[in-house]
Symmetry: C2
Subunit: 171 residues, 2 copies
């Protein structure tokens, strides 16, 4: 089977070269079918199926959201450990009983545990907001992810070549 | 316990107001302890423990890396479904036998399955690279994640208030 590694959109069926009126900062993904109408490829991007009304960006943002809550909990516990060992113990004990997989649920439960836990929950909410806006290096995230894809692609292809041509690798 | 929701760095122990010489695009996270020396808070950001030599950005980039492989597989299967049903069936059959949780491992295995699968693997590698660089909306990701944190924080606090003050909510 000889085929190009990446299809261009004009090679795909149903592609019509309409001018895309898509905005970069659109909250959802106009490429995706919003309804059952056959309007799937009216933008310059590759069609990604399977995200329904959401978008890959929204899915990734949701994962990051839980990650930020996890980070905020780590930040707050590290702070408490230094200056408030009692609150630190209480938070650690709560963490042993509640999963951090769903960050919002964790915070909502923490808020209802006791008035002392409520103060901790409010702090975690504030820290995750501040971390997400000020501390997290968004440019660095993109740079690292692109680098990771490049390096992984090279490594996967190199490993394959060196495995399938042992004579070459012994030179 | 009355304490501010977010501690400023000057309130933390061991904080010395040295001028931060940190670059935004630094690949790792100078805030974090690189060694056992007590140099933990020499930057303007909150200390995040528990990431060792890596950084939160690297951890998030690694998750996105696997996500991009998943997306690339979805894109390629959607393309194949239209114009190459045989290859589509082969890829779907392979996906049933191999997990996509580790994207690199999936691609490496796909490459070794057969010469036809190898072509598919190479296409997936190219698509994830193109998607990550051109199609994925990084600005939108940040916007959505910040919005999600804001809205979640508001919702968690509003829910708590409406639960704990029923008289207020009945007005």
């Amino acid at each position: 089977m000889e085929s190009p590694a990446v299809l261009t959109l004009s090679q795909l069926p149903y592609f019509s070269p309409q001018k895309s009126n898509r905005k970069r900062a659109s909250p959802s993904w106009p490429c995706q079918p919003r309804s059952s109408q056959p309007t799937r490829l009216h933008c310059q991007k590759m069609y990604v199926p399977g995200f329904g009304e959401a978008s890959p960006e929204a899915k990734a943002a949701n994962n990051l959201h839980n990650f930020f809550t996890y980070i905020a909990v780590r930040i707050v516990t590290a702070q408490l450990q230094s200056y408030n060992p009692e609150a630190y113990e209480e938070l650690m004990e709560f963490m042993n009983r509640h999963s951090l997989n769903d960050g919002d649920k964790f915070c909502a439960n923490l808020m209802r545990e006791s008035s002392r836990h409520k103060v901790l929950a409010l702090r975690i909410l504030e820290v995750r907001s501040a971390y997400c806006k000020n501390d997290f290096e968004w440019d660095n995230l993109k740079r690292l992810a692109v680098k990771m894809v490049n390096e992984s692609n090279t490594r996967i292809m190199r490993d394959y070549v060196s495995e399938t041509s042992p004579a070459e690798s012994e030179k």
